[in-house]
């Protein structure tokens, strides 16, 4: 038999990744990478706060670090990295765990960065399988874990399928149809050369169009990822203006500490909620000011990051104090984002905020409210909701999970590969291969099989045979 299998050539292990902490628990979420390239991939997306790099980390050591978006160079999140080297890790391979403070939303972002660098999404239970393969756990232990994983993953797969609806769902279906049509034409002309002749003049344009369309949707992926986990709405403003009171009023419970001491809130608080059907992650932050105090200074820095990364900024103004120069500066800085001014403490009727000035800066993007009495709170929720209602169903707009992003990303890659082959003058058999992979990636989202679909299409479109 040996000779017929001579084509298994060299040896590699691919690197897999997934969010390892249970979804929905908020707070810290862990992204886990495992495989021969785990340390190298992590090294390319993570900058350690102190000296050194991830690939140079000692086994079982931890470090504080920033996750970077290689595209924009921006910091995605601050995290703690834990490096474990083979064979002394859970899977027995090199493992990197990235603990994201920003919760699941940020973790999804981090994971999609890892996918871009060559990580493959882990299949359900795959970490456990690898642990077993590499002799780290016994079969009994593995099966106990896999039992849970399988039932849980069936549920989440169902959800992944369910999420692909509306506009995005029909777009994916359209792309799939176009690729399968093309496959039917090219494969059909190979299998039935006497009856099907492939007119290849349009293929170039078609592939370029597909590549553009899928690319455009992938660009919206960060928004989609955010939306599917909740629109991030961030309360910011100077100290003591009443942010935490609004936070509590918007959540309808006493979640944040409220005192009359400026600088009460230090860390970023995050709470999921829902406003008129819009899933929202509401953030409370430390008051913005220059400060010598170390902890507060860190808090102020985080407040700014949170504001910049959120989908909506609620800039809070105190009606008992009016608009300060700093307020004007912040407001104009964030003018081009989804920024809404909230004039609060209006129950005290001080009317210190100059509404004419406010209109000049914010046009109609401001509301009046009171954290103490609840005045204007529902109007505020509605206003935010309506900003997104125009976009349609958030889940239908853009890929909502790292898995979807990955499938679309691979489809795009394969289409570009096919385009490349076409331009380089490769024969149809090779172009078809790339297109089959592209269709396969899309069909991971729709649950079909490439070869069956292609044959069906050949027979329904062409009159073939003897």
């Amino acid at each position: 038999m040996g000779s017929s299998q001579g084509w298994f050539v060299d040896t590699v292990t691919d690197t897999i990744g997934a969010i390892a902490s249970p979804v929905g628990t908020g707070g810290i979420a862990i992204v886990r990478l495992s495989g021969a390239d785990a340390l190298r991939i992590a090294g390319r997306m993570i900058r350690l706060k102190r000296r050194g790099s991830v690939p140079a980390m000692k086994s079982w050591s931890m470090a504080l670090a920033d996750v970077l978006d290689m595209g924009s160079g921006r910091v995605v999140d601050e995290c703690i990295v834990l490096a474990m080297r083979a064979p002394r890790s859970y899977t027995g391979e090199d493992v990197v765990e990235i603990q994201c403070h920003g919760g699941v939303v940020v973790a999804e972002k981090v994971l999609s960065l890892a996918f871009r660098l060559g990580t493959r999404p882990a299949l359900p239970g795959e970490f456990t399988k690898r642990a077993f393969i590499n002799g780290r756990i016994t079969l009994d232990e593995a099966e106990a874990v896999l039992d849970i994983v399988t039932s849980a993953s069936e549920e989440s797969l169902f959800q992944a399928g369910r999420r692909l609806k509306g506009e995005l769902g029909s777009m994916v279906e359209k792309w799939e149809t176009q690729i399968v049509d093309l496959l039917a034409l090219l494969q059909g002309s190979i299998d039935f050369p006497e009856t099907i002749e492939a007119d290849k003049s349009d293929i170039q344009d078609l592939l370029a169009g597909l590549s553009h369309d899928i690319g455009a949707v992938l660009e919206r992926a960060p928004l989609g990822l955010a939306l599917s986990q909740g629109v991030e709405v961030c309360l910011v403003g100077r100290p003591n203006v009443g942010k935490s009171s609004l936070f509590n009023a918007l959540l309808a419970r006493e979640r944040a500490i409220v005192t009359d001491i400026p600088g009460t809130t230090r860390d970023v608080l995050r709470e999921p909620t829902e406003w008129y059907g819009l899933p929202v992650a509401l953030l409370d932050t430390a008051g913005l000011r220059e400060t010598e105090e170390v902890v507060e200074a860190l808090g102020v820095e985080r407040a700014q990051t949170a504001a910049v990364e959120s989908n909506v900024i609620l800039y809070v103004l105190d009606d008992t104090q009016g608009i300060y120069d700093e307020d004007v500066q912040w407001l104009s800085k964030w003018q081009n984002r989804n920024c809404l001014a909230v004039v609060t403490k209006v129950d005290l009727m001080k009317q210190q905020v100059d509404l004419k000035l406010l209109r000049d800066i914010c046009q109609d993007r401001w509301v009046r409210a009171s954290g103490a009495t609840g005045f204007g709170i529902e109007g505020l929720k509605k206003k935010v909701q309506s900003m997104f209602a125009s976009l349609g169903d958030p889940e239908a707009l853009a890929p909502g999970s790292a898995r979807q992003v990955d499938c679309l990303g691979r489809a795009l890659g394969e289409i570009q590969r096919a385009l490349g082959y076409l331009n380089q003058g490769w024969t149809d058999d090779v172009i078809v291969l790339a297109l089959e992979e592209a269709a396969g990636s899309l069909m991971e989202l729709t649950g079909k099989k490439v070869s069956g679909e292609t044959l069906d299409r050949i027979f329904s479109r062409f009159c073939v045979g003897k």
Binding site: M1, G2, S3, S4, Q5, W7, F8, V9, D10, T11, V12, T13, D14, L123, G125, E126, K129, F132, I133, N134, G135, T138, L139, A142, E143, L146, D147, T150, Q187, S189, I190, D191, F192, P193, E194, T195, Q424, G425, W426, T427, D428, D429, V430, L433, E436, S451, T454, L455, I458, F459, C463, V464, G465, K466
Partner: protein
């Protein structure tokens, strides 16, 4: 060969291997058994109809040509028979890539049949006339067959290659005849025998087009089709020859033809409920084409001369079961056929088949030891598909008698493996025809490397003659030498890497590298294709690489795989069905690399041994 004659010492058996049917499956099955020194016989209703071609007189085409090459590489007969009797050969898909490039031969069907008949006689295979009505079984074992006249033939193994004859009936318009193709009788009784053994049968239909007389056609009105303009051959043992003789012509139907069909559609058995069997989508009748594609103004027809010794001309594209008078009306509408005479009208044929999920990958049926099936009885269509199954069934019947490891091919190893795997593990909804689309590893499964892929396997089981083995070994040595030469660096890198570009060809390097020019042309072409596709094939196999060192690791037999939750269901199904003896075979039959790693770990931890269970009792006990 060890144990080869054991069968004969066992009194009471007339034959080691008894083949039922003399079509393409039957022939290869009998040849294979005889080549493995089995005492073989072939029972057929019509000894004059060996390896007949009731459909068009052509062999090969996309996917099918690769199968013929694989049969040849393993030591089968079909390619040699084709090369010996071809009138014309065409190279299809020449511009679409070397992997899908496919030969198609038009053969002299009488000469082909005569060739096979001579080979059967020369191979010591006994040809017996008779209709088999029953498979004789006892204690879960087949031990022979019963004939219509009540006599019995006792054999250690039985291979059913009954084609489309099982309870077949022919339909031409209102006429329904219980018969096989070409006016032969239908095989009655065998279906009931199989059903009584507990097998589930299905019913398919297929059809063919009218034959017309050579002399009644105005050939000047038809367009001649050109054959290949370079020397070609199917077999690795044949000398490639120029076969461009003009024996194929084309024409088109027109609106008048379609009008005839539409006007008479109420007399079409396919549309009035007479025919219930499921027909193949790739072989639609003209009534199907006209009704399903009403906007098509014309359909292409090909005219193929069937034999130098016969007056019949086959019309490809005009399969029909409309009444004979309608067939005449249709034909008269085609320019060149206004005076044509039909020698045999087109017809539809309905027949029983065995639902192939009931066979083992060795082509032995599940539950009855020693009973094999091959060809159209297994829900396939096509001479090539039938021959491939016959070959494997013949080998495995012999291997069973010799108590040696059976020959099973996987999806990554051969088109025959794709055929086999699709038959045993998917639901077959129409007569199964091979297409290149079905083979995901088609870049690797080429006609040109079928010998490198399979001849060593054929040699292992004993099918490959000394002469073929010598020729193969010579070529393999040349290929290795060529591969080594391609490792050489020139400006720009190693030659093999430079060849990955579609614009570079091996000829560009012949003057540059010593020794390259001395290699035979087919070897040069092959190593160039290898280099060209290397990147794509590696990409497809990237996951499997980690297992390279472990391919020969043995898996225990009779593992109760279903108890393992850590393997995917697909994997468990494959393991239960194929019982792969090694990790390499497990991969070959389609177990995913990640699951193969799990299996490897279980092997290492001794877990697999703990799951070994006793053999299950056979059917009927």
């Amino acid at each position: 060969m060890k144990g080869a004659r054991r069968g004969l010492r066992n009194r009471g058996f007339d034959f080691d291997v008894l083949v039922v049917g003399s079509g393409h499956a039957g022939c290869e099955a009998a040849f294979a058994a005889a080549r493995l020194n089995m005492k073989a016989a072939m029972v057929t209703m019509d000894v004059g109809n060996v390896a007949g071609m009731p459909c068009n007189p052509a062999i090969g085409g996309p996917g099918k040509a690769q199968i013929v090459a694989e049969i040849d590489a393993l030591g089968g007969e079909m390619a040699l028979a084709t090369d010996n009797t071809a009138i014309e050969m065409r190279l299809l898909n020449a511009s679409k890539g070397p992997a899908v490039q496919s030969l198609r031969a038009q053969v002299d069907k009488r000469a082909y049949s005569a060739y096979m008949r001579r080979r059967i006689e020369a191979s010591g295979i006994k040809l017996i006339k008779g209709m088999v009505t029953e498979v004789l079984t006892g204690a879960g074992k087949a031990y022979g067959v019963k004939l219509e006249d009540g006599s019995a033939i006792r054999a250690r193994t039985v291979i059913l290659c009954t084609g489309v004859y099982l309870e077949s009936r022919i339909v031409i318009g209102p006429k329904v005849v219980e018969s096989g193709p070409i006016g032969e009788s239908s095989a009655r009784g065998l279906s009931a025998s199989l059903a009584s053994l507990g097998f589930e049968l299905g019913r398919f239909k297929t059809g063919t087009s009218p034959r017309i007389l050579k002399g009644s056609i105005d050939w000047d009105q038809l367009v001649p089709e050109r054959g290949a303009d370079k020397p070609v051959a199917f077999s690795f043992m044949s000398v490639p020859m120029l076969r461009s003789k003009n024996v194929c012509y084309s024409a088109y139907t027109n609106e008048n033809t379609h009008e005839v069909v539409r006007k008479n559609i109420d007399r079409a058995p396919l549309f009035d409920g007479t025919i219930e069997g499921v027909g193949p989508r790739y072989c639609p009748s003209i009534e199907d084409k006209v009704m399903r594609f009403p906007n098509r103004k014309r359909h292409q027809l090909y005219f193929e001369i069937e034999s130098e010794e016969s007056d019949d001309v086959y019309i490809l594209g005009l399969s029909t079961s409309l009444p004979e008078d309608v067939q005449y009306q249709m034909i008269y509408t085609v320019p060149g056929l206004t005076k044509a005479k039909i020698s045999r009208p087109g017809y539809a044929i309905e027949y029983d088949y065995l639902i192939p999920s009931q066979i083992h990958p060795t082509f032995e049926v599940q539950g009855i030891s020693g009973l094999f099936t091959a060809g159209q009885i297994n829900a396939t269509s096509g001479y090539e598909e039938a021959a491939a199954q016959g070959l494997l069934a013949g080998v495995n019947a012999a291997m069973k008698i010799k108590e040696e490891e059976p020959l099973v091919l996987g999806r990554k190893e051969a088109y025959i493996g794709v055929l086999l795997d699709d038959l045993v593990s998917t639901v077959i909804e129409e007569p199964y025809r091979m297409l290149t689309s079905r083979a995901e590893h088609r870049l690797f499964l080429r006609h040109s490397n079928a010998d490198m892929r399979l001849t060593p396997l054929g040699r292992r089981v004993g099918l490959v003659s000394e002469e073929r083995w010598q020729a193969f070994s010579r070529k393999a040595e040349f290929i290795n030498r060529g591969r080594a030469l391609l490792e050489q660096k020139v400006t720009g890198g190693a030659i093999k890497d430079l060849l990955r570009s579609p614009e570079r060809h091996i000829e560009d390097f012949i003057g540059v590298v010593d020794g390259l020019g001395g290699l035979p042309e087919e070897v040069l072409s092959e190593i160039e294709i290898e280099a060209k596709y290397a990147g794509f094939i590696e990409r497809q196999n990237r996951e499997a690489r980690r297992l390279e060192k472990h391919l020969e690791k043995k898996l225990p037999a009779n593992v109760n795989w279903r108890q393992l939750k850590s393997l995917s269901r697909e994997t468990v199904d494959k393991l239960v069905r194929y019982r792969p003896p090694t990790i390499g075979r497990a991969l070959g039959v389609g177990v995913s690399p990640s699951d193969a790693l799990v299996i490897l770990a279980m092997l290492r931890s001794g877990k697999l041994r703990a799951l070994v269970q006793p053999e299950r009792a056979p059917r009927g006990e």
